[in-house]
Each structure stands twice: as structure tokens, then as C-alpha cells.
């Protein structure tokens, strides 16, 4: 059973083709990293497959009704908007909205999802703090927790690791990897190739108006593909501490 199935998707924004004929499927238990240089269309691909922008081609999520989609996928956009100073706990609880019938108090069973998401992102100390007054990285963690609380089979996040400190970058990656181990899936765009090499189960590399490569990290993070997509030289080894990836120079 696939959680997201995209067939020959093309997006054109303001008469400029962003990407053409992109197809891929995401099944259960995958942690997919979406890589690519700036402007390659990572965000557009994710938004188009969610049905948030107009696109040609098919995406299984875009065809769903809004309420079905809200139970199938959780989305964390790149812009970290928190409009009001609501406490972190209530912010995370917003993720439960799609599952609630009309009415706004959270029943205890729902509170369990909220608590689990807060605990996973290490936000226990921030529960009562106003989310809009947290630092950028803390806000990002709160928003990841919000998406986790939505408790969907698929989680899509646009650069969730940007602005996090190294410890929280690693622990967030671990959270996504844990989701995959539980049989859910995550599709996450990333710029940190080192994190992608260590944590993702699969990488999709976007460049030149389409998907350049799609496969396990060891294959996608090759010297040739990195030179072609990013124009960089790399150092990539399997070590006793796991795979280590380091970009070296601009070619």
C-alpha cells in the first residue's frame, strides 16, 4: 500500500517550468530525504503533491478531500508561522483538530497524542511558554511536534532541520527515522547532506527540472551525482561510526 503516489507531475509557476514529469511512490516505513539545489523545486514538488498549488499530472494526496487528506498527511511548511502567543501545548494540540468533531476541548485520549509529540521533541520544559516568543529553533521543534500530533501515516516537512542546533538536528532526524521504524513514513526536504547520509532510508535528488536520482543514500550521494546536481566535490565513506559525508569544494 503506498502512502503517496505521484505520476508525471509537472509544475509551472508564472510561465516558468519548475519541474516536469516527476513520478515516485512512498510506501510505509520509509524516511525519504528530498535533496536538491536552491530553486530545484523541492517545495513546489511537496506543495503540488499535497494539492496546494496547481499542477499537471496525478498525486494521490491532491485527489483527496480536505478532511481525508488531513488524516492521511501532516504538512510542516518552510515558513514557520505562529501568529499568536499561544502556549506550546495548545499549539501542538492544534494538530489534533482534523480528528476532533466540532467542539474544542481535548478529550484525555487526544491529550496522549499531544503529550507524546511534546516528549518526542523534548519540549516538556516549554509547555506553558508562548510559542511565538520562542527562538527560531524552538519554534521549529514546536511545529514539528504539531505535525507529529496530527498522527498521520505520512509526514511531510519542508526543511525542518534548518535553524536547529546540532543536537536537535540529530534528534529530529532520529524522530523521523523512528516514525519510519514504526511503519509510518516521512518525506523531508534537507540541505544538510551529512544528516541525509546518516538518517534517511531513501533519497530523492532533484535537479535540472526533474528527479535526477532516487534510491538508497549510498547510491544517490555519489561523486558524479553531487557534482552534477550541486557542483561540489565530496568525501563520502562508510566508517565504523556509520556513513560520513562531507562536502569539500565548489567545482
Amino acid at each position: 500500500m503506498s502512502l503517496l503516489s505521484v505520476r508525471s507531475l509537472s509544475v509551472t509557476l508564472r510561465n516558468r517550468p519548475v519541474f516536469r514529469d516527476v513520478s515516485f511512490e512512498i510506501g510505509p516505513g520509509e524516511f525519504v530525504g528530498l535533496l536538491g539545489p536552491n530553486g530545484a523545486g523541492k517545495t513546489s514538488l511537496m506543495r503540488a503533491s499535497l494539492g496546494l498549488i496547481r499542477a499537471d499530472g496525478d498525486s494521490s494526496l491532491a485527489q483527496m478531500s480536505a478532511s481525508d487528506r488531513a488524516r492521511a498527511v501532516a504538512w510542516m511548511p518552510q515558513s514557520r508561522e505562529i501568529a499568536w502567543p499561544i502556549p506550546v501545548e495548545r499549539l501542538v494540540a492544534l494538530g489534533r483538530l482534523p480528528h476532533l468533531p466540532q467542539g474544542r476541548t481535548l478529550p484525555p485520549a487526544e491529550q496522549a497524542y499531544v503529550d507524546r509529540a511534546i516528549e518526542r521533541m523534548g519540549l516538556d520544559a516549554f509547555r506553558g511558554r508562548a510559542a511565538s516568543r520562542l527562538s527560531g529553533g524552538e519554534q521549529a521543534r514546536a511545529l514539528i511536534a504539531r505535525a507529529l500530533a496530527q498522527d498521520t501515516p505520512l509526514l511531510m516537512a519542508d526543511e525542518p532541520a534548518a535553524g536547529l542546533d546540532p543536537a536537535h538536528q540529530i534528534s529530529s532526524m532520529q524522530v523521523f527515522a523512528d516514525l519510519a521504524a514504526e511503519g509510518r513514513s516521512a518525506l523531508v526536504s534537507l540541505h544538510d547532506l551529512g544528516l541525509a547520509a546518516r538518517h534517511c532510508t531513501r533519497l530523492i535528488l532533484m535537479a535540472e527540472g526533474g528527479i535526477l536520482a532516487d534510491g538508497p543514500p549510498a547510491e544517490v550521494l555519489s561523486t558524479e551525482l553531487m557534482a552534477q546536481a550541486f557542483g561540489i566535490s565530496i568525501w563520502h565513506r562508510e566508517t565504523e561510526n556509520g556513513p560520513v559525508f562531507q562536502p569539500l569544494e565548489v567545482l
Binding site: 488531513a70 504538512w75 501568529a83 494538530g95
Partner: protein, 327 residues
């Protein structure tokens, strides 16, 4: 939360009783309240039923409507500076009323003025929806609202400019300052359906507004239909603001200041702010209407003047506090 709602509701009731007992007639509070339920007081019963009760009721209804619309508008636009007048309905309602005064319709037909104002509000809604387009975005709505407000304001000035006699101009200017004086139960009956329908619509938006805290993209993927939210927001706001302006004239600042004051007390959550702001709006308009009667009873101080006089410094204070919080 429950304590806040109880406090606000209690204040509304107390102010309602004060509003019923405050007035130029020299009678005790107990007598005036007793006269409501007993015809034997003669003229006092008449004063209570024909003058004070409708006025007090209008203050509650209109204040609540404006506070609610302000909270909904700020929640939708995710901007604490938004106010219900932003979509251009209040200025187009005012234009309708001004034309009615100028053409003599207001003087010749009993409810000519409020109905003309409602017609103006309706025109404003149609224009704003047509201009804002079918997409669910908030930016086009703001721009359309500003354009219509400017247009209606210009036309209002034109009517004033070409006004054949100074008395009509005088009446227009005073009407635009907003007042609840000399209103009857007919006016209550006129505004009530619009306020109730609008309030039901706006209160149903709580969930969507909560989700919009995270931005339009995130809200959409949480199952919120943005087009529907925007449509209902405009219709609900137009209903309450159109009705309120038709009956009471332009009363500003309530929809702006009340949600701003109450936001920290409901921990910023838009859905809770809707209810709290409705009560807060009722409180603020009641206080203003009582103040109008107590401060300068003989000079017919206008309500819109008082709300602006109180609202603007309050707003300055809030800006100052926000600025300190940011540093």
C-alpha cells in the same frame, strides 16, 4: 478561561443594570427597575420601556457584534491591527445612510435611514467579494476592502460637498459620529436578526481560525477550506457590521481594541477570543454609552467620539507595551 467568561458576563449584567438606571430623570434605581415590571409607575414605565431598555439592549447587541467581528477579522488576517471596517462594509453602509439623509429619504420614511444603510452594506459586500476573486487568499481581500472603503469615503465626502443645505450636512456629520440615543424597539428588532445570524456564522469559524494560526498552507492541510472560511467571514462580518452601522452609525475602535486587550487573557487562541471579545465589546460599548450620559448629558456627546477618545490612548498604551515586550 471559565473564570474570565464568568467575570465578563457578570460585568455585562452589572453594566446593563447601571445603563437602565442612569438617565436625566431624577428617580431611584429601585423605582426605575420596578417600573419595568409594573405599569402603575405611569410615565416612568414608559421611559424605561421606550427609552432606556432599547438603548441598553442596543449597546449590548452592537458592542458584542463589533467585538466578535473584530476578533474574527484579526484571527483570519493574523494581524492584531485588523478591524471589522477593513472589508469596507461599514463605510459603504455609512454611504447609504448619508445618501438617505441627503435625499430626504431618512426624514420621509420611518426606517428609511437604516434600510438605506443596509442596502449600502449589501452593495459593499458584493463589490468586495467580486473584487477579492475566487481564491481563498487574504491579501486580495484586504486590498479590495481598502479600495471600497476609499471609494465609499470619497462618495460620502462628495455628498457632503454637494449638500444643498447646511442642516443636511450637519445631520450627516453628527450621524456619522455614531449614537444610541433616541432608538426604540423597532431598531432593536432591526439589528437583532443581523447580529444573531452574523454571530452564529462568526462563532462557527473558531476551528478554522485556530488552524490559521499556523498559516494558510498548514491550515489547508489540516482540513480547513480557506475559501469557505473567507466567504463566511465576509458574510458574517458584513451582517453584524452592516446591521450595527445602520442602527447606530459608525462606532470605531471596539473591534480593534477589545480583541487586543483580551488576547493575553485567553492565551492567544483565536477560537476562545471570539467569545471573550463578544462579551468585551458589549462591556466597552455599554461603558461608553453610560459615559456619554453621565459626562455631558446636556450636550449630546456622540458615542463614536467617546469610543475613539478612550480607544486611541488605550491602543497607544498597548503599542507601548508591545514595543517593550519586543526589546
Amino acid at each position: 478561561m471559565i473564570r474570565l467568561m464568568l467575570f465578563l458576563s457578570g460585568t455585562v449584567v452589572i453594566l446593563f443594570l447601571i445603563a437602565l438606571t442612569a438617565g436625566p430623570a431624577d428617580v431611584s434605581a429601585r423605582d426605575s427597575l420596578a417600573a419595568l415590571f409594573d405599569d402603575s409607575y405611569g410615565p416612568l414605565s414608559l421611559v424605561m420601556w421606550e427609552i432606556r431598555l432599547p438603548r441598553a439592549l442596543l449597546a449590548v447587541i452592537i458592542g458584542a457584534a463589533l467585538g466578535l467581528a473584530g476578533a474574527a477579522m484579526q484571527g483570519y488576517l493574523r494581524n492584531p491591527l485588523a478591524e471589522p471596517g477593513l472589508i469596507g462594509v461599514s463605510s459603504s453602509a455609512a454611504l447609504g445612510a448619508v445618501i438617505a439623509i441627503n435625499t430626504g429619504l431618512a426624514a420621509s420614511a420611518t426606517l428609511g435611514l437604516p434600510f438605506a444603510a443596509l442596502a449600502g452594506a449589501l452593495m459593499g459586500v458584493f463589490l468586495v467579494m467580486a473584487l477579492a476573486g475566487p481564491q481563498g487568499g487574504s491579501l486580495t481581500l484586504i486590498l479590495a476592502g481598502i479600495a471600497i472603503s476609499a471609494m465609499a469615503g470619497a462618495l460620502t465626502s462628495l455628498v457632503l460637498n454637494l449638500s444643498p443645505n447646511p442642516f443636511a450636512a450637519n445631520e450627516i456629520v453628527f450621524w456619522m459620529m455614531g449614537s444610541l440615543a433616541d432608538r426604540s424597539f423597532v431598531h432593536v428588532g432591526l439589528v437583532l436578526p443581523f447580529a444573531v445570524v452574523g454571530a452564529v456564522i462568526l462563532l462557527s469559524l473558531g476551528r478554522g481560525l485556530d488552524a490559521l494560526t499556523l498559516g494558510e498552507d498548514a491550515a489547508q492541510t489540516m482540513g480547513v477550506n480557506l475559501k469557505r472560511v473567507r466567504l463566511w467571514l465576509v458574510l458574517g462580518t458584513a451582517s453584524v457590521v452592516g446591521g450595527a452601522t445602520a442602527v447606530a452609525g459608525a462606532i470605531g475602535f471596539i473591534g480593534l481594541v477589545v480583541p487586543h486587550i483580551l488576547r493575553p487573557l485567553v492565551q492567544g487562541q483565536p477560537s476562545r477570543l471570539l467569545w471573550a471579545s463578544a462579551l468585551g465589546g458589549a462591556i466597552m460599548l455599554q461603558m461608553a454609552d453610560i459615559a456619554v450620559r453621565l459626562i455631558l448629558p446636556s450636550r449630546d456627546l456622540k458615542l463614536g467620539v467617546v469610543t475613539a477618545l478612550v480607544g486611541a490612548p488605550l491602543f497607544l498604551h498597548l503599542i507601548y507595551k508591545t514595543r517593550k515586550g519586543l526589546v
